[in-house]
Symmetry: C3
Subunit: 152 residues, 3 copies
Protein backbone atom coordinates (compact mmCIF):
# COMPACT_ATOMS: atom_id res chain seq x y z
CA UNK A 1 0.00 0.00 0.00
CA UNK A 2 1.33 3.42 -0.93
CA UNK A 3 1.75 6.04 1.77
CA UNK A 4 0.66 9.59 1.33
CA UNK A 5 3.72 11.62 0.42
CA UNK A 6 4.43 15.25 1.12
CA UNK A 7 7.52 17.01 -0.15
CA UNK A 8 9.59 19.36 1.96
CA UNK A 9 9.38 22.92 0.76
CA UNK A 10 8.31 26.43 1.60
CA UNK A 11 4.62 26.95 2.34
CA UNK A 12 3.03 30.10 3.79
CA UNK A 13 6.31 31.59 4.95
CA UNK A 14 6.74 35.33 5.42
CA UNK A 15 10.31 36.19 4.46
CA UNK A 16 12.07 39.50 5.04
CA UNK A 17 14.42 40.90 2.42
CA UNK A 18 17.68 39.18 1.60
CA UNK A 19 17.01 35.74 3.07
CA UNK A 20 18.96 32.70 1.85
CA UNK A 21 17.60 29.16 2.11
CA UNK A 22 19.54 26.03 1.17
CA UNK A 23 17.21 23.25 0.04
CA UNK A 24 15.97 20.74 0.94
CA UNK A 25 14.38 22.54 3.86
CA UNK A 26 10.87 22.26 5.24
CA UNK A 27 9.45 25.63 6.29
CA UNK A 28 5.78 26.30 6.84
CA UNK A 29 3.65 28.98 8.41
CA UNK A 30 6.62 30.80 9.95
CA UNK A 31 8.27 34.24 9.74
CA UNK A 32 11.93 34.57 8.78
CA UNK A 33 13.38 38.06 9.25
CA UNK A 34 15.50 40.03 6.82
CA UNK A 35 18.98 38.85 6.11
CA UNK A 36 18.50 35.43 7.70
CA UNK A 37 20.26 32.29 6.52
CA UNK A 38 18.62 28.87 6.68
CA UNK A 39 20.87 25.88 5.97
CA UNK A 40 19.97 22.54 4.41
CA UNK A 41 17.98 19.79 6.17
CA UNK A 42 16.19 22.30 8.40
CA UNK A 43 12.58 22.16 9.51
CA UNK A 44 10.78 25.22 10.88
CA UNK A 45 7.18 24.77 11.95
CA UNK A 46 4.20 27.04 11.93
CA UNK A 47 4.09 30.04 14.21
CA UNK A 48 7.87 30.23 14.62
CA UNK A 49 9.38 33.70 14.34
CA UNK A 50 13.07 34.16 13.55
CA UNK A 51 14.54 37.65 13.96
CA UNK A 52 16.62 39.56 11.44
CA UNK A 53 20.10 38.37 10.55
CA UNK A 54 19.81 35.15 12.50
CA UNK A 55 21.53 32.08 11.06
CA UNK A 56 19.74 28.75 11.33
CA UNK A 57 22.36 26.15 10.50
CA UNK A 58 21.94 22.79 8.84
CA UNK A 59 20.01 19.95 10.50
CA UNK A 60 18.14 22.23 12.92
CA UNK A 61 14.55 21.79 13.99
CA UNK A 62 12.47 24.72 15.29
CA UNK A 63 9.09 23.61 16.57
CA UNK A 64 5.83 25.43 17.01
CA UNK A 65 6.08 27.87 19.92
CA UNK A 66 9.65 29.01 19.29
CA UNK A 67 10.61 32.68 18.92
CA UNK A 68 14.21 33.56 18.14
CA UNK A 69 15.58 37.11 18.39
CA UNK A 70 17.81 39.08 16.06
CA UNK A 71 21.46 38.35 15.31
CA UNK A 72 21.33 34.86 16.76
CA UNK A 73 23.18 31.76 15.69
CA UNK A 74 21.42 28.39 15.86
CA UNK A 75 24.15 25.80 15.43
CA UNK A 76 23.98 22.68 13.31
CA UNK A 77 21.59 20.08 14.63
CA UNK A 78 19.92 22.42 17.11
CA UNK A 79 16.72 20.83 18.40
CA UNK A 80 13.90 22.69 20.10
CA UNK A 81 11.16 21.03 22.15
CA UNK A 82 7.66 22.21 23.00
CA UNK A 83 6.07 19.18 24.60
CA UNK A 84 7.28 18.05 28.01
CA UNK A 85 5.34 14.77 27.87
CA UNK A 86 3.98 15.80 31.25
CA UNK A 87 1.02 13.48 30.88
CA UNK A 88 3.38 10.55 30.27
CA UNK A 89 3.58 11.04 26.52
CA UNK A 90 3.03 13.50 23.71
CA UNK A 91 0.04 15.76 23.88
CA UNK A 92 -2.06 16.34 20.79
CA UNK A 93 -3.37 19.56 22.34
CA UNK A 94 -1.22 22.60 21.45
CA UNK A 95 -2.58 24.33 24.55
CA UNK A 96 -0.38 22.00 26.59
CA UNK A 97 2.77 22.84 24.64
CA UNK A 98 5.12 25.41 26.05
CA UNK A 99 6.92 28.26 24.35
CA UNK A 100 10.61 28.97 23.93
CA UNK A 101 11.87 32.53 23.68
CA UNK A 102 15.46 33.17 22.59
CA UNK A 103 16.67 36.76 23.07
CA UNK A 104 18.87 38.81 20.74
CA UNK A 105 22.47 37.98 20.00
CA UNK A 106 22.23 34.46 21.42
CA UNK A 107 24.75 31.91 20.10
CA UNK A 108 23.78 28.26 20.28
CA UNK A 109 26.44 25.65 19.51
CA UNK A 110 26.02 22.53 17.43
CA UNK A 111 23.86 19.63 18.54
CA UNK A 112 22.20 21.56 21.36
CA UNK A 113 18.82 20.47 22.69
CA UNK A 114 16.54 23.11 24.19
CA UNK A 115 13.51 22.26 26.28
CA UNK A 116 10.87 25.02 26.44
CA UNK A 117 12.84 27.83 28.05
CA UNK A 118 13.62 31.54 27.93
CA UNK A 119 17.21 32.50 27.09
CA UNK A 120 18.33 36.07 27.74
CA UNK A 121 20.17 38.32 25.29
CA UNK A 122 23.78 37.52 24.56
CA UNK A 123 23.95 34.03 26.02
CA UNK A 124 26.33 31.46 24.58
CA UNK A 125 25.36 27.79 24.75
CA UNK A 126 28.13 25.26 24.19
CA UNK A 127 27.95 22.47 21.66
CA UNK A 128 26.15 19.35 22.84
CA UNK A 129 24.40 21.05 25.75
CA UNK A 130 20.90 20.18 26.91
CA UNK A 131 19.14 23.30 28.18
CA UNK A 132 16.51 22.38 30.74
CA UNK A 133 15.95 25.70 32.55
CA UNK A 134 15.58 29.37 31.74
CA UNK A 135 18.91 31.14 31.28
CA UNK A 136 18.36 34.53 32.86
CA UNK A 137 21.97 35.62 33.30
CA UNK A 138 24.20 36.44 30.34
CA UNK A 139 26.93 33.83 30.23
CA UNK A 140 28.37 30.70 28.68
CA UNK A 141 26.45 27.50 29.44
CA UNK A 142 27.42 23.91 28.71
CA UNK A 143 26.71 20.31 29.69
CA UNK A 144 23.74 18.03 30.20
CA UNK A 145 21.91 19.61 31.92
CA UNK A 146 23.41 22.94 30.89
CA UNK A 147 25.07 24.92 33.68
CA UNK A 148 26.74 28.31 33.78
CA UNK A 149 30.45 27.87 33.10
CA UNK A 150 31.45 31.50 32.65
CA UNK A 151 29.82 34.91 33.05
CA UNK A 152 29.93 37.33 30.15
Amino acid sequence: MEPRYFDSGTVDVKFGAGVTVVRPANLYGCEIGEGCFVGPFVEIQKGVKVGARTRVQSHSFLCEGVTVGEDCFIGHGGMFVNDLFSGGGPSADPAEWRDTVIGNGVSIGSNVTLLPVAVCDGCVIGAGAVVTRDLTEKGVYAGNPARLVREL
Copy 2:
Protein backbone atom coordinates in the same frame (compact mmCIF):
# COMPACT_ATOMS: atom_id res chain seq x y z
CA MET B 1 36.24 11.37 -10.81
CA GLU B 2 32.51 11.05 -10.35
CA PRO B 3 31.14 9.16 -7.36
CA ARG B 4 28.36 6.67 -7.63
CA TYR B 5 25.17 8.43 -6.57
CA PHE B 6 22.10 6.96 -4.99
CA ASP B 7 18.99 8.99 -4.26
CA SER B 8 17.05 8.75 -1.04
CA GLY B 9 13.65 7.23 -1.53
CA THR B 10 11.37 4.35 -0.68
CA VAL B 11 12.54 0.88 -1.72
CA ASP B 12 10.99 -2.42 -0.68
CA VAL B 13 8.98 -0.95 2.17
CA LYS B 14 5.83 -2.62 3.46
CA PHE B 15 3.44 0.14 4.50
CA GLY B 16 0.21 -0.30 6.44
CA ALA B 17 -2.83 1.80 5.58
CA GLY B 18 -2.87 5.52 6.12
CA VAL B 19 0.86 6.17 6.45
CA THR B 20 2.26 9.65 5.79
CA VAL B 21 5.86 10.24 4.71
CA VAL B 22 7.47 13.66 4.27
CA ARG B 23 10.25 13.58 1.69
CA PRO B 24 13.18 13.51 1.41
CA ALA B 25 13.32 10.35 3.47
CA ASN B 26 15.36 7.21 2.91
CA LEU B 27 13.43 4.05 3.75
CA TYR B 28 14.38 0.60 2.56
CA GLY B 29 13.49 -2.96 3.39
CA CYS B 30 11.44 -2.02 6.45
CA GLU B 31 7.87 -2.34 7.69
CA ILE B 32 5.88 0.75 8.69
CA GLY B 33 2.57 0.02 10.41
CA GLU B 34 -0.79 1.56 9.71
CA GLY B 35 -1.33 5.19 10.57
CA CYS B 36 2.36 5.93 11.09
CA PHE B 37 3.92 9.31 10.35
CA VAL B 38 7.49 9.63 9.07
CA GLY B 39 8.95 13.16 9.00
CA PRO B 40 11.51 14.63 6.63
CA PHE B 41 15.23 13.79 6.68
CA VAL B 42 14.60 10.36 8.19
CA GLU B 43 16.47 7.16 7.39
CA ILE B 44 15.03 3.75 8.26
CA GLN B 45 17.14 0.73 7.35
CA LYS B 46 16.29 -2.77 6.31
CA GLY B 47 14.65 -5.12 8.75
CA VAL B 48 13.26 -2.35 10.95
CA LYS B 49 9.65 -2.77 12.07
CA VAL B 50 7.64 0.23 13.26
CA GLY B 51 4.29 -0.46 14.94
CA ALA B 52 0.95 1.10 14.13
CA ARG B 53 0.33 4.79 14.81
CA THR B 54 3.95 5.47 15.77
CA ARG B 55 5.37 8.86 14.82
CA VAL B 56 8.95 8.99 13.59
CA GLN B 57 9.90 12.65 13.67
CA SER B 58 12.28 14.56 11.41
CA HIS B 59 16.02 13.85 11.40
CA SER B 60 15.69 10.41 13.00
CA PHE B 61 17.77 7.39 12.11
CA LEU B 62 16.54 3.84 12.74
CA CYS B 63 19.19 1.24 12.02
CA GLU B 64 18.99 -2.42 11.17
CA GLY B 65 17.95 -4.42 14.22
CA VAL B 66 15.43 -1.93 15.59
CA THR B 67 11.84 -2.85 16.40
CA VAL B 68 9.48 -0.13 17.63
CA GLY B 69 6.08 -0.90 19.14
CA GLU B 70 2.70 0.71 18.57
CA ASP B 71 1.70 4.25 19.54
CA CYS B 72 5.27 5.37 20.11
CA PHE B 73 6.83 8.76 19.52
CA ILE B 74 10.40 8.95 18.20
CA GLY B 75 11.44 12.58 18.69
CA HIS B 76 13.34 14.71 16.21
CA GLY B 77 16.93 13.65 15.72
CA GLY B 78 16.48 10.30 17.49
CA MET B 79 19.48 8.07 16.75
CA PHE B 80 19.58 4.32 17.20
CA VAL B 81 22.76 2.24 17.34
CA ASN B 82 23.35 -1.45 16.61
CA ASP B 83 27.12 -1.75 16.66
CA LEU B 84 28.94 -1.39 19.98
CA PHE B 85 32.39 -1.26 18.33
CA SER B 86 33.29 -4.02 20.77
CA GLY B 87 36.18 -5.10 18.60
CA GLY B 88 37.59 -1.56 18.69
CA GLY B 89 35.69 -0.35 15.64
CA PRO B 90 32.70 -1.05 13.43
CA SER B 91 31.92 -4.63 12.54
CA ALA B 92 31.01 -5.51 8.99
CA ASP B 93 29.34 -8.68 10.26
CA PRO B 94 25.65 -8.15 11.08
CA ALA B 95 25.85 -11.17 13.39
CA GLU B 96 27.80 -8.98 15.78
CA TRP B 97 25.23 -6.21 15.77
CA ARG B 98 22.71 -6.07 18.58
CA ASP B 99 18.99 -5.45 18.50
CA THR B 100 16.89 -2.73 20.04
CA VAL B 101 13.31 -3.40 21.06
CA ILE B 102 11.06 -0.48 21.96
CA GLY B 103 7.77 -1.45 23.61
CA ASN B 104 4.34 0.08 23.05
CA GLY B 105 3.44 3.63 24.00
CA VAL B 106 7.07 4.69 24.47
CA SER B 107 7.81 8.42 24.09
CA ILE B 108 11.33 9.39 23.10
CA GLY B 109 12.29 13.07 23.26
CA SER B 110 14.30 15.01 20.71
CA ASN B 111 17.97 14.32 20.09
CA VAL B 112 18.00 11.08 22.06
CA THR B 113 20.67 8.46 21.38
CA LEU B 114 19.82 4.82 22.05
CA LEU B 115 22.42 2.09 22.23
CA PRO B 116 21.10 -1.43 21.60
CA VAL B 117 18.63 -1.80 24.44
CA ALA B 118 15.16 -2.96 25.38
CA VAL B 119 12.72 -0.29 26.56
CA CYS B 120 9.53 -1.38 28.30
CA ASP B 121 6.02 -0.20 27.50
CA GLY B 122 5.10 3.34 28.45
CA CYS B 123 8.57 4.69 29.16
CA VAL B 124 9.32 8.37 28.62
CA ILE B 125 12.87 9.34 27.61
CA GLY B 126 13.79 13.00 28.03
CA ALA B 127 15.26 15.12 25.25
CA GLY B 128 19.01 14.82 24.81
CA ALA B 129 19.31 11.58 26.80
CA VAL B 130 21.77 8.82 25.95
CA VAL B 131 20.23 5.44 26.76
CA THR B 132 22.95 2.91 27.52
CA ARG B 133 21.02 0.19 29.40
CA ASP B 134 17.74 -1.64 29.20
CA LEU B 135 14.86 0.30 30.71
CA THR B 136 12.78 -2.35 32.43
CA GLU B 137 10.71 -0.16 34.74
CA LYS B 138 8.07 2.23 33.44
CA GLY B 139 9.27 5.74 34.17
CA VAL B 140 10.80 8.96 32.98
CA TYR B 141 14.51 8.74 32.13
CA ALA B 142 16.93 11.56 31.32
CA GLY B 143 20.62 12.45 31.15
CA ASN B 144 23.83 11.01 29.75
CA PRO B 145 23.81 8.19 30.64
CA ALA B 146 20.04 8.10 31.08
CA ARG B 147 18.81 7.48 34.61
CA LEU B 148 15.37 7.10 36.12
CA VAL B 149 14.14 10.50 37.25
CA ARG B 150 10.51 9.65 37.99
CA GLU B 151 8.38 6.53 38.16
CA LEU B 152 5.17 6.39 36.18
Copy 3:
Protein backbone atom coordinates in the same frame (compact mmCIF):
# COMPACT_ATOMS: atom_id res chain seq x y z
CA MET C 1 9.29 38.38 -0.71
CA GLU C 2 11.09 35.38 -2.14
CA PRO C 3 14.34 34.20 -0.55
CA ARG C 4 17.36 33.29 -2.56
CA TYR C 5 17.42 29.51 -2.87
CA PHE C 6 20.41 27.25 -3.24
CA ASP C 7 20.08 23.53 -3.75
CA SER C 8 22.20 20.99 -1.93
CA GLY C 9 24.56 19.20 -4.26
CA THR C 10 28.16 18.51 -5.14
CA VAL C 11 30.29 21.52 -6.10
CA ASP C 12 34.06 21.58 -6.55
CA VAL C 13 34.62 18.26 -4.79
CA LYS C 14 37.66 16.13 -5.52
CA PHE C 15 36.58 12.50 -5.27
CA GLY C 16 38.86 9.48 -5.22
CA ALA C 17 37.87 6.31 -7.06
CA GLY C 18 34.93 4.25 -5.93
CA VAL C 19 33.12 6.77 -3.75
CA THR C 20 29.42 6.41 -3.02
CA VAL C 21 27.19 9.36 -2.11
CA VAL C 22 23.54 9.10 -1.11
CA ARG C 23 21.61 12.24 -2.00
CA PRO C 24 20.50 14.70 -0.86
CA ALA C 25 23.92 15.69 0.44
CA ASN C 26 25.64 19.05 0.37
CA LEU C 27 29.35 18.79 -0.41
CA TYR C 28 31.48 21.67 -1.59
CA GLY C 29 35.16 22.45 -1.96
CA CYS C 30 36.27 19.30 -0.14
CA GLU C 31 38.30 16.17 -0.86
CA ILE C 32 36.78 12.72 -0.40
CA GLY C 33 39.25 9.84 -0.63
CA GLU C 34 38.90 6.62 -2.57
CA GLY C 35 36.35 4.12 -1.45
CA CYS C 36 34.56 6.51 0.89
CA PHE C 37 30.85 6.35 1.63
CA VAL C 38 28.78 9.46 2.31
CA GLY C 39 25.24 8.90 3.58
CA PRO C 40 22.16 11.03 3.04
CA PHE C 41 21.52 14.39 4.73
CA VAL C 42 25.24 15.07 5.10
CA GLU C 43 26.98 18.42 4.73
CA ILE C 44 30.74 18.67 4.17
CA GLN C 45 32.20 22.17 3.87
CA LYS C 46 35.11 23.57 1.93
CA GLY C 47 38.63 22.61 2.82
CA VAL C 48 37.60 19.36 4.55
CA LYS C 49 39.69 16.30 3.69
CA VAL C 50 38.32 12.81 4.27
CA GLY C 51 40.78 9.90 3.98
CA ALA C 52 40.33 6.73 1.98
CA ARG C 53 37.69 4.18 2.93
CA THR C 54 36.16 6.39 5.61
CA ARG C 55 32.40 6.18 6.08
CA VAL C 56 30.51 9.40 6.78
CA GLN C 57 27.10 8.31 7.95
CA SER C 58 23.76 10.04 7.50
CA HIS C 59 22.99 13.37 9.17
CA SER C 60 26.64 14.28 9.76
CA PHE C 61 28.12 17.74 9.45
CA LEU C 62 31.84 18.30 8.77
CA CYS C 63 32.80 21.95 8.95
CA GLU C 64 35.67 23.89 7.46
CA GLY C 65 38.91 23.01 9.22
CA VAL C 66 38.22 19.29 9.65
CA THR C 67 40.61 16.59 8.44
CA VAL C 68 39.63 12.95 8.85
CA GLY C 69 42.09 10.09 8.38
CA GLU C 70 41.73 6.79 6.56
CA ASP C 71 39.47 3.91 7.55
CA CYS C 72 37.43 6.01 9.94
CA PHE C 73 33.76 5.78 10.79
CA ILE C 74 31.79 8.98 11.42
CA GLY C 75 28.53 7.86 12.98
CA HIS C 76 25.09 9.16 12.17
CA GLY C 77 24.50 12.73 13.26
CA GLY C 78 28.17 13.42 13.98
CA MET C 79 28.69 17.17 14.38
CA PHE C 80 32.03 18.95 14.14
CA VAL C 81 32.68 22.47 15.42
CA ASN C 82 35.32 25.01 14.40
CA ASP C 83 34.22 28.16 16.20
CA LEU C 84 34.52 28.30 19.98
CA PHE C 85 32.53 31.55 20.24
CA SER C 86 35.48 32.81 22.28
CA GLY C 87 34.52 36.39 21.60
CA GLY C 88 31.04 35.75 22.99
CA GLY C 89 29.55 34.66 19.69
CA PRO C 90 30.36 33.37 16.22
CA SER C 91 33.37 34.83 14.45
CA ALA C 92 33.09 35.76 10.80
CA ASP C 93 36.88 35.56 10.52
CA PRO C 94 38.08 32.05 9.57
CA ALA C 95 41.47 32.94 11.08
CA GLU C 96 39.79 32.59 14.48
CA TRP C 97 38.38 29.15 13.73
CA ARG C 98 40.23 26.13 14.95
CA ASP C 99 41.04 22.88 13.22
CA THR C 100 40.07 19.33 14.01
CA VAL C 101 42.33 16.45 13.05
CA ILE C 102 41.00 12.89 13.28
CA GLY C 103 43.66 10.18 12.93
CA ASN C 104 43.37 6.87 11.08
CA GLY C 105 41.06 4.08 12.10
CA VAL C 106 39.01 6.28 14.42
CA SER C 107 35.43 5.16 15.13
CA ILE C 108 32.95 7.82 16.16
CA GLY C 109 29.54 6.71 17.41
CA SER C 110 26.20 8.23 16.52
CA ASN C 111 25.20 11.70 17.65
CA VAL C 112 28.69 12.66 18.78
CA THR C 113 29.69 16.33 19.00
CA LEU C 114 33.34 17.23 18.52
CA LEU C 115 34.78 20.60 19.43
CA PRO C 116 38.02 21.51 17.62
CA VAL C 117 40.33 18.73 18.79
CA ALA C 118 42.94 16.21 17.73
CA VAL C 119 41.99 12.54 18.05
CA CYS C 120 44.74 9.94 17.81
CA ASP C 121 44.70 6.82 15.65
CA GLY C 122 42.41 4.02 16.67
CA CYS C 123 40.24 5.86 19.17
CA VAL C 124 36.64 4.85 19.73
CA ILE C 125 34.14 7.52 20.76
CA GLY C 126 30.87 6.32 22.21
CA ALA C 127 27.48 7.38 20.91
CA GLY C 128 26.21 10.68 22.29
CA ALA C 129 29.61 11.84 23.56
CA VAL C 130 30.73 15.47 23.52
CA VAL C 131 34.48 15.64 22.87
CA THR C 132 35.91 18.81 24.37
CA ARG C 133 39.65 17.97 24.57
CA ASP C 134 42.33 16.32 22.48
CA LEU C 135 42.30 12.53 22.75
CA THR C 136 45.97 11.60 22.74
CA GLU C 137 45.74 8.07 24.12
CA LYS C 138 44.17 5.23 22.16
CA GLY C 139 41.04 4.21 24.00
CA VAL C 140 37.27 4.23 24.30
CA TYR C 141 35.79 7.58 25.32
CA ALA C 142 32.21 8.41 26.28
CA GLY C 143 30.05 10.97 28.07
CA ASN C 144 29.57 14.72 28.16
CA PRO C 145 32.33 15.81 28.40
CA ALA C 146 33.94 12.69 26.95
CA ARG C 147 36.25 10.80 29.30
CA LEU C 148 38.39 7.70 28.85
CA VAL C 149 36.38 4.67 29.85
CA ARG C 150 38.72 1.94 28.61
CA GLU C 151 42.21 1.72 27.16
CA LEU C 152 42.72 -0.08 23.89
